[in-house]
């Protein structure tokens, strides 16, 4: 059986053949009908591909694109709104279930629930008292360390920042109303 390689490779080569390769290929093609058929088939197929024009869409493609863009953006916004609504609803439902469970358990065992509530209240009160104590200690030690001039400067600076923030916010608010 006649070997078809590397001739088949060369026939469909993605690079140009050297003069020696081209001569060998030509000589092989004279003897091998299978490679000759491949060469004819590919030459014809390539000719057809190279002659085929660019196909254009029907008139008004860009206008259809603009309409599609508007429709898709509306759909996207709607989907985002539904997503936010869905997440909020899921959150609310989760909260309702949690609350419902608490209420149900307190209804089923009111004494147990009252003791639990009392424990929480005691814990919160103790935490607030401890925080107050720590805060007072800190303020007293800072007051002793920081000179009075620096205190005055800090208070004035904070007041200036607050005023600036208030002015900015009111300006933006007025601008927003005007727009």
């Amino acid at each position: 059986m006649m070997p078809h390689q590397p001739f088949e490779e060369w026939l469909l080569a993605v690079h140009d053949l050297s003069a020696a390769e081209a001569a060998k290929l030509e000589s092989h093609l004279r003897e091998c009908s299978s490679c000759r058929a491949l060469a004819t088939g590919w030459a014809e197929a390539e000719r057809r591909l190279e002659a085929a024009p660019l196909l254009a869409p029907t008139e008004g493609f860009a206008e259809r694109w603009q309409a599609t863009l508007v429709a898709r953006e509306i759909a996207q916004r709607r989907w985002q709104a539904w997503l936010v609504f869905g997440l909020s609803l899921a959150g609310a439902l989760a909260l309702a279930v949690l609350l419902g469970w608490q209420v149900l358990s307190s209804l089923l065992s009111p004494a147990h629930a009252a003791v639990g509530l009392l424990q929480v209240m005691v814990w919160v009160a103790a935490a607030v008292a401890a925080a107050q104590e720590v805060g007072l200690v800190l303020v007293r030690s800072l007051a002793a360390l920081v000179p009075p001039g620096l205190w005055i400067a800090l208070v004035v600076g904070a007041a200036a920042l607050i005023s600036l923030w208030l002015i900015t916010m009111s300006r933006y608010a007025i601008q927003g109303v005007r727009q």
């Binding site: 088939g41 590919w42 085929a52 660019l54 694109w65 599609t68």
Partner: protein
């Protein structure tokens, strides 16, 4: 190709959020993008949808576009990937010749019943040749013969290595060389000749 060049400012303006600039890009690239989708999918309706989808995806991904890359290659890459995925989903690789659409929008320099029928027949044969290929091989052939992309550009657009592109092109050529005589025989069986249009 067959190439399109647009002012670089349009791309920059579109990236900055200018919709009008993007519409100009749509107008400029509608033919190359549509042609790729049409050659890949073979059907005008599906090609229109695919081209619209390509521009939508490009519009959404503009921030991720690297201005160092040619815009046309980037767009063609989006279109090719969309069509390949679509074909894989739809399993339309072997499209029946009987189901081939009418090529009513074939550009014809000298319109007339005979030349139009001839162009129709030529397009039908090219389309049937392309439909015989694997989607990725088809994309490589379309990019090579309609857009003259280099192997590097094709490898980037198709997310393949350069050697994979060459090997796919080789395989596609081998297949097309075998398909051509069949397509010719099918044309003859339908009442046509190799170069003449079938009797209308």
């Amino acid at each position: 190709m067959r190439s399109v060049s647009v002012p670089q400012e349009w791309v920059a303006q579109a990236r900055a959020g200018d919709r009008q600039a993007f519409t100009l890009l749509v107008e400029a690239y509608q033919v190359p993008v549509y042609n790729l989708c049409r050659r890949m999918l073979g059907n005008p309706g599906e090609a229109e949808d695919a081209a619209q989808e390509t521009f939508w995806r490009a519009f959404q991904a503009l921030e991720r576009y690297d201005p160092q890359r040619p815009f046309a290659t980037w767009l063609l890459s989006i279109a090719a990937h969309y069509c390949i995925d679509y074909l894989r989903r739809q399993r339309l690789v072997a499209l029946s010749l009987e189901a081939m659409p009418d090529y009513h929008d074939v550009p014809d320099p000298a319109p007339g019943p005979e030349s139009s029928a001839e162009a129709h027949e030529r397009e039908r044969r090219v389309a049937s040749m392309l439909q015989s290929l694997d989607p990725l091989d088809r994309a490589a052939i379309v990019m090579r013969y309609w857009y003259d992309l280099s192997y590097e550009e094709m490898s980037e657009a198709l997310s393949l290595s350069v050697s994979a592109v060459k090997s796919r092109l080789h395989r596609a050529r081998r297949q097309l060389a075998g398909v051509w005589p069949e397509s010719q025989a099918s044309g003859l069986a339908r009442g046509g000749t190799h170069d003449a249009a079938p009797a209308v």
